[in-house]
């Protein structure tokens, strides 16, 4: 009866979440200490109830309990153990439960780790978090329950199996990461609402918000990178970003979150940009909700499909309208209550961060329009189809992102309040020189087009600029090595985070440009014994064989790879057909990593002409993942920074380090 206990816990969690919403908010309004203190225990209880419920669902999956409709529809007894667990969230109902679990975990973290928050702020933040949880628990419990049972007499013996594309290690981790990102932004949202209610935003507020935003941003970055990596090696088309609405759904909150991360710095350091930062916090989480609506409501496949089965979609839309509309309304009537802000010159650290925010917001808007336009068009014309593809996104996003990349290395070199552009530029002479040389070399030696050469130049500029800023900060090459080393070892985490993240951006730009501009592909119908030449490799197709996995049958094609007439590798590329009723085959590409790039072999159908074989050479595509990894790593290091330990004030004197607030 674990299933039913889990179901009951989920219902109870809804009631507790409502309690967590109303009691503390009422208490904060009355300034009643006792009621405000009810928030944290409720948040803790709610977390354990949701966690128990989630565990009950995973338990049902692991034990192949097909009396649970959700398990029957999405699992199979022959699945490997790992995918029995991940199967619990590789479907709509389960993933919504995971969403709520992550939400409850963040709320728990606020309840436990922010003892130093002023009581009323804490009560309001937890109350708003409770409201968001309530909405989604209501959704789950009414129209999207994972605990629906199949009548006893009709319980099937075998499940229908998981979507085979999702049976993959990267995708097992992708949703939890992504959700931790989406949901993490709810904390910034809740803090923004609480600040509007309190009528107070100060640098302490920003100091509390920043670590949560950074944590969410780090998770989201990791989630997007995993998703992109998965698309690269699993879908068999060799691309890593398709401007697909599902990808855009996660990219929009990422862009807005990146802007928020930067504007919060200004609030903390300079007590400026307060209302803008509040708005950005509201927008970032709103975009998370929009993303979830796009992915989860079925509206993407077709507006028509959404209208046919509107129950769930309408519910999510109502949640969306309530939180986005409500928060913007609150912003409209309360934003003026926030105190006026400190002033600064256009050329300054603040100024560069404002420019960063303007460009990131515009880029977000470009992606937003491109993603939603086809939906609006279909709705308005009553079923007309229109596609907004890569050319639109490459153009609009590119135009907005290139200036951002160009000013990126400059920002950290400008002083607060009033900076000197000339001085900053002159410090970046080396970077500019290196970037120009690399771009020229790329076009002369590697035959790059002007666009590609410029792209390589910009990537190099960002990468070298970030490294140069770091080198200048630690006085590398300017002070004795010992001094530099000691400065390196004492450099605070948030600065490491900045350097790593900015250098990561440079690597991603380089990876994107190089892998696109120098990519080579060969798509052929091949007979066994045939050879194809690509990027200096020779790929020999040996033939096919059958293989069986734990819950799939595989068609394997064997390849031998030669370079300069010498055999350097043997590889297998697979097509898998899984047990269960979903018989869509998946590809397992053969992927070989070399210093210059990846050799990528995917097989298609067999026809009379032979086996369709797609071979790509993806030069230096690993720079993308390396860059993303650096950003994530930077994020974690930033979180380790003691400045971010919530409520710890910045020290001006070692003496004060003895203060008791820790």
């Amino acid at each position: 009866m674990i299933v039913e206990l889990g179901h009951f816990a989920l219902v109870l969690a809804l009631a507790v979440a409502l309690y967590q919403t109303f009691v503390p908010l009422y208490g904060a309004a009355r300034n009643d200490m006792r009621l405000m203190e009810m928030a944290a225990p409720a948040a803790i209880v709610q977390f354990f109830l949701v966690a128990f419920s989630f565990a009950a669902l995973v338990h049902a999956y692991v034990n192949s309990d097909f009396s649970v409709l959700n398990v029957f529809q999405n699992s199979h007894s022959a699945k490997p153990f790992l995918y029995k667990i991940t199967g619990a969230w590789a479907n709509h109902e389960g993933s919504m439960l995971l969403w709520v679990l992550v939400m409850a975990a963040f709320t728990l973290a606020i309840a436990v780790f922010s003892g130093n928050l002023p009581a009323s702020l804490k009560a309001r933040v937890l109350g708003v978090q409770g409201a968001i949880s309530s909405a989604f628990l209501l959704y789950i419990n009414t129209v999207s329950s994972p605990f629906v049972r199949i009548p006893e007499s009709r319980v099937p013996l075998e499940g229908q199996g998981m979507n085979p594309l999702l049976q993959d290690p990267a995708l097992a981790m992708h949703p939890p990461m992504l959700y931790a990102g989406y949901v993490g932004f709810s904390v910034a949202f809740a803090f923004a609402i609480a600040a509007l209610l309190e009528g107070k935003v100060d640098s302490a507020w920003a100091r509390w918000v920043r670590p949560w935003t950074l944590a969410a941003w780090t998770f989201l970055t990791a989630g997007i990178a995993l998703g992109s990596w998965w698309a690269y090696y699993e879908l068999g088309w060799g691309g890593w970003w398709f401007w697909d609405p599902v990808e855009n759904a996660s990219f929009m909150p990422w862009l807005a979150g990146t802007a928020l991360l930067h504007s919060a710095i200004v609030v903390e350091k300079r007590n400026a940009l307060k209302t803008w930062t509040i708005l950005l916090a509201l927008i970032t989480f709103s975009l998370s909700l929009v993303g979830m609506f796009l992915v989860r409501s079925g509206v993407l496949s077709s507006v028509h499909a959404f209208a046919v089965d509107p129950e769930r979609g309408t519910f999510i839309l109502a949640i969306l309208a309530f939180f986005i509309g409500g928060s913007l309304f609150l912003y409209a009537i309360r934003a003026h209550a926030l105190k006026l802000e400190g002033s600064f010159e256009p050329v300054s650290r603040e100024g560069s961060l404002v420019l960063n925010n303007v460009l990131l917001s515009a880029a977000t808007a470009a992606v937003f329009i491109g993603t939603l336009f086809p939906l609006a068009y279909e709705a308005v014309t009553g079923g007309g189809k229109i596609t907004v593809g890569a050319p639109y996104f490459n153009l609009t996003f590119g135009i907005l992102i290139i200036p951002l990349l160009l000013i990126l290395p400059l920002g950290p070199l400008l002083a607060w309040k009033r900076g000197k552009l000339k001085a900053a530029l002159s410090r970046l002479k080396v970077s500019a020189l290196v970037a120009a040389v690399v771009a020229i070399l790329a076009s002369l030696l590697a035959g790059a087009s002007i666009k590609a050469a410029l792209g390589v130049g910009v990537g190099t500029w960002v990468l070298v600029g970030a490294l140069q800023e770091w080198a200048g900060r630690v006085m590398l090459f300017r002070a004795p090595l010992k001094v530099a080393l000691s400065r390196i070892s004492s450099m605070p985490g948030h600065l490491w985070a900045m350097t790593l993240a900015h250098a990561g951006v440079g690597l991603i730009v380089l990876g994107a440009v190089i892998s696109t501009a120098w990519k080579s592909e060969a798509i052929n119908a091949m007979q066994p014994g045939q050879k194809v030449e690509i990027a200096g490799f020779e790929v020999l197709y040996k033939g096919d064989r059958q293989a069986t996995g734990p819950n799939y049958l595989a068609e394997q094609s064997l390849f031998e790879i030669y370079r300069n007439g010498e055999k350097i590798a043997e590889e297998i590329s697979e097509k898998r057909t899984f047990l269960g009723s979903r018989s869509m085959p998946t590809t397992e590409v053969a992927l070989l990593h070399y210093p210059l790039g990846d050799l990528y072999i995917a097989i298609g159908d067999k026809t009379q002409m032979g086996r369709t074989v797609r071979i790509y050479f993806e030069p230096m595509i690993y720079l993308l993942w390396l860059g993303a990894l650096m950003m994530v790593f930077g994020g974690f290091i930033g979180l380790m920074d003691r400045r971010f330990r919530v409520g710890v004030a910045e020290r001006t004197d070692s003496r004060i380090a003895a203060q008791p607030a820790e």
Binding site: A15, S67, S145
Partner: protein, 393 residues
């Protein structure tokens, strides 16, 4: 303790823990914030005193001293503000608010139970696959038994007994292709396959072909004759194959001989006799005198009995129970989904096989009603009725 008692007991425990957790903070005076502010204030004042001493001793000087002093002063002010607020809030904690909070907390489990009763399936036990398989025999769960047999067989696919046990179960589940394959495997893996085995295989093929006797079935029946000359079942089917091939004279002669050889109490006697009579009429011949009928059963009954024998790991009662539960399940499903022609064909056949002639008749009548506008379906129903010897209206 019954499942239901245990379930509600655990629900009660869950509710108790939640309530205790929610209500506990209301019982104690919320002094924490105040205590901390007072404590912080004391510490900062100490720090300030130390700083003044050090400045007086000249250990810190100038700008640094000023900065530190300002910082500590700022904190003292903040802590004092916090202390004041905490005191105000403590005073604001009136009884009204608390009562409202307690009532709200008590409403939490009430609402939860009320909603759960609507959406949940209270106290319903879990049904993990492994436990279902373990309890299969106890629960007459034919589908689970088949799954278990398949799992065993996957480990020793060369065991003919396993295939022999599975084949009739597949037939019961209506999975004729699998049944045919299982019988074929059983024949292939047995040293000296018996006539019965060939008969069972061939009959499954005939069923899959809806009564037509394909070439491979003819071969298998002939093999049964070879192994056990005079075996009535294969003789019957071979004669029917002749009939289907248009050799009516030959079929008539062979059936006549078969009828003479069958003891009157044999279950198949009546059916064979009917065939002989019908053929005699068609050919304009004098039908032989027929001795009293032992039963109304058709030769089909023999086949089922044979299949059942192969299900060695179940007692006769259990077997019957399994089949009956299967048939009842099928009947239930057809109520929900009456357009399933193959389901009706299976149900009619199964009723007849179980000796429930009335119910077979009723099912046939119902099916004819449902498919009244479907010429093709009614033809198939009529063909089946003829094959089973049920009167089709």
């Amino acid at each position: 303790m019954s499942d239901a008692t245990a379930f509600w007991l655990l629900v009660g425990v869950m509710i108790a823990v939640v309530l205790a957790w929610l209500l506990a903070p209301m019982l104690r005076r919320p002094r924490r914030a105040l205590d901390r502010a007072v404590y912080d204030l004391a510490i900062y004042r100490d720090q300030m005193r130390e700083l003044e001493t050090e400045i007086a001793q000249g250990r810190i000087s100038g700008e640094a001293a000023e900065k530190a002093r300002n910082e500590i002063a700022r904190r003292i002010l903040a802590a004092d503000r916090e202390r004041q607020q905490a005191e105000e809030r403590l005073q604001a904690s009136g009884r009204g608010g608390m009562l409202a909070a307690i009532l709200t907390a008590l409403a939490v489990p009430v609402a939860a139970v009320a909603i759960y009763m609507q959406v949940g399936d209270p106290a319903r036990p879990d049904l993990p696959l492994e436990r279902r398989l373990a309890d299969a025999a106890k629960n007459d769960d034919l589908a689970a038994l088949v799954k278990k047999a398949e799992q065993r067989l996957a480990k020793e696919p060369d065991n003919p007994r396993g295939w022999m046990a599975l084949a009739p179960a597949y037939e019961q589940l209506g999975q004729l292709d699998k049944a045919i394959e299982a019988w074929r495997k059983a024949i292939e893996l047995t040293d000296k396959p018996s006539a019965d085995l060939y008969n069972a295989y061939a009959e499954a093929v005939v069923r899959a072909a809806n009564g037509r006797i394909p070439e491979q079935a003819v071969k298998a029946f002939a093999k049964a004759q070879e192994l056990s000359p005079g075996d009535p079942m294969s003789r019957y089917y071979l004669a029917m194959a002749d009939l289907q091939a248009g050799k009516r004279e030959k079929a008539y002669e062979n059936l006549k001989k078969l009828l003479a050889d069958l003891p009157p109490q044999a279950p198949a006697h009546a059916a064979v006799a009917r065939q002989v009579q019908r053929l005699a009429q068609a050919l304009g011949k004098q039908a032989p005198a027929i001795t009293a009928q032992a039963s109304g059963a058709a030769p089909m009954n023999d086949a089922v009995r044979q299949q059942m024998q192969a299900m060695r790991n179940a007692s006769p009662q259990e077997r019957m129970a399994m089949i009956r539960s299967m048939v009842e399940g099928l009947s239930e499903r057809l109520k929900d989904n009456p357009d399933d022609l193959n389901g009706w064909l299976r149900l009619i056949r199964a009723r007849k096989v179980l000796g429930e002639a009335d119910k077979a008749q009723a099912a046939l009548a119902r099916a004819n009603e449902i498919f009244a506008n479907n010429e093709d379906a009614r033809k198939r129903l009529a063909a089946l009725a003829a094959q089973l010897g049920i009167a089709s209206q």
